[in-house]
Amino acid sequence: MQSAERRTDKKIKNEPWRDPNAEAYVRFENITKRFGDFVAVNNVSLKIYKGEIFCLLGGSGCGKSTLLRMMAGFEQPSAGTIYLDGQDLAGIPPYERPVNMMFQSYALFPHMTVEKNIAFGLEQEKGLSRSEIATRVTDILEIVKLTPFAVRKPHQLSGGQRQRVALARSLVKRPKLLLLDEPLGALDKKLREATQFELINIQESLGVTFIVVTHDQEEAMTLASRIGVMNRGEIVQIGTPTEIYEFPMTKFVADFIGSVNMFEGQLVEDLPDRARIKSDELGGLIYIDHGISSAPGATVWAAVRPEKINIQRQPPANTSENCAKGVVKEIAYMGDVSIYLVKIDSGKTVRVTLPNVERLSDDERIQWDETVWLTWHASSPVVVTQ
């Protein structure tokens, strides 16, 4: 009992959004932004807490960058208010906001050395002595591991180094809030992963609040304390990476985050502890071990993640529910996992991923054109109604 309480306390400390009394650090209230007839951001309300890494995730043109640019002050909202630490930001120009931004293109000054680029922001602050600026620049160069490159110009640096200069330049001012626009977009996969963890370390040691804009769900998953998924100018779901992945609330979110097999069907049974969906796309029934609380007969979608589906050569004991027979059409060996595309009897292609736990010979592995049975556990499907 006591340990459970302690767990709750810890949870609230790490996840301030669960505490109803917590004061939001950044508040977007009914923000709308129109460019002519085009509504880029539509009535977005959002609370972000101190110390969070909040990721705005969405495809291109979903309004996530516009939201960020309004926070930085480059765009003015057509309606609504943005509060930072209780202060209304309306009418405050970008150069007076205690907010710094790391640009997608990095926007390093090409005519200045790395040092000068980083010092630029400090030189704009009043009451900072030259020696103080120099020490802070040296310190931040140390943190981002760029000390040997201090006197180089941006064009003499690699993409990863430029990205770190951009990060250092935005961090050196010790902003209350750091905005990052696709921060790792230009980096290759290895470097991106390393930098992601580096970013988290820096964020934890400096205690800055981050708002990150990205279209890359993997990036959002690793970085974020919470993710806000955006579509067509609206926030469709806010939650921790786990919540977003395991409990998507709409078809869009389920589809956007990771890959998913979507089965359309009608709700035939809906009780508090179980539900059944009759799906023509599956050619059978989907059994779920919790209630949906929706109207009987309603059209719903059951989303099953590829890694939650089992693939086997023998038919299972119960073939009437959560089960489909099909033929393997494609196999992609990715090293750590293999992806199978199975055409089931109803005609739909289902995606299944299996981890390659054992090193199997080609004979033991499931092969092309083999007939297989797909099954999943009753807790696996997520049912969405829109």
């Binding site: 930085a72 970008p94 150069y95 000054f109």
Partner: protein, 335 residues
Amino acid sequence: MSLSAARTVGTRGTPGRLGPVWTFLFRYGPPRWTEYLIKNWAGQRLVISLPYLWLLIFFLVPFLIVLKISFAEFSPLGRPPYEPVFRWLDEGALQIKLLVSSYTYLFNEPLYVSSWGYSIMVAAVSTVLCLLLGYPMAYAIARSTPTYRNVFLMLVILPFWTSFLLRVYAWIGLLKTDGVINNVLMWLGIIDAPLTMMYTSFAVYIGIVYSYLPFMILPLYSNLEKHDNTLLEAASDLGAGPIKAFLRVTLPLSFPGIVAGSLLVFIPAVGEYVIPSLLGRTDQLMIAKLLSDEFFLNRDWPKASAVAIAMLLLLVVPIMLFQHFQNKELQANKK
């Protein structure tokens, strides 16, 4: 690549509707010698060498002739009016007679010295005026929407559609004592007596700034137009207000454009002949006018040549600077 492709087309079947020449080319490809030229980049060499040959014949050779004349001795009754520099003596020896008197004259004669000083001053002041006027214009054009941008650029270039001489003459009509400007000012009651504007340095500045402003605006525009707006956003984000951001980001980045524009104004302005002759002071000549007088009135070819050479040397420094900065900008653009 494309050659072999053409061959393949030929072997697959004759393109029926094309004429016999094309059919032939498709079947057998281009003749061997063109293939050879393309392979060895001789085409590129040819393209480069033709204009260089032109410059060699019509620029370098005349320059050497002028250089030679500048060292010759003036002979007022001669035809041409100078003593030959190179002469074969009867004994078969080559006599070379070089005089530096034309050059020493340039530095000792007060008329020349003051003309040099005046030319450089007029050119420098005009350049600064063009820069002060042209920079905001170029900036505004670069920042306007694409539709307006083309209109504005067109308006900058539009004066070139009329003859340069005609436009300078038109200024006489505007500036003279009973000209348009004086009449309007008197009619408005701003002045009682007409202002003396013609035949002053003021008129020369007006003429030069008016004529050369596009040469300042265009290179500045082409530089400013390439500026990345996010750099200004970054500056603003880091706490720099609009003026600071301009001084620390836009201005330094437009430096190559400033240099290019300034040289394009300064270099021709130093040697400007028409504008000061038509609008300028009669008591203070610019160097080009002096040169032409020396040549056509005094018929002193050696001195005229020496002036020309000295002017060239004076301008070589800014021209080389111009080249240097242009190369620098080209390299920056490649990145």
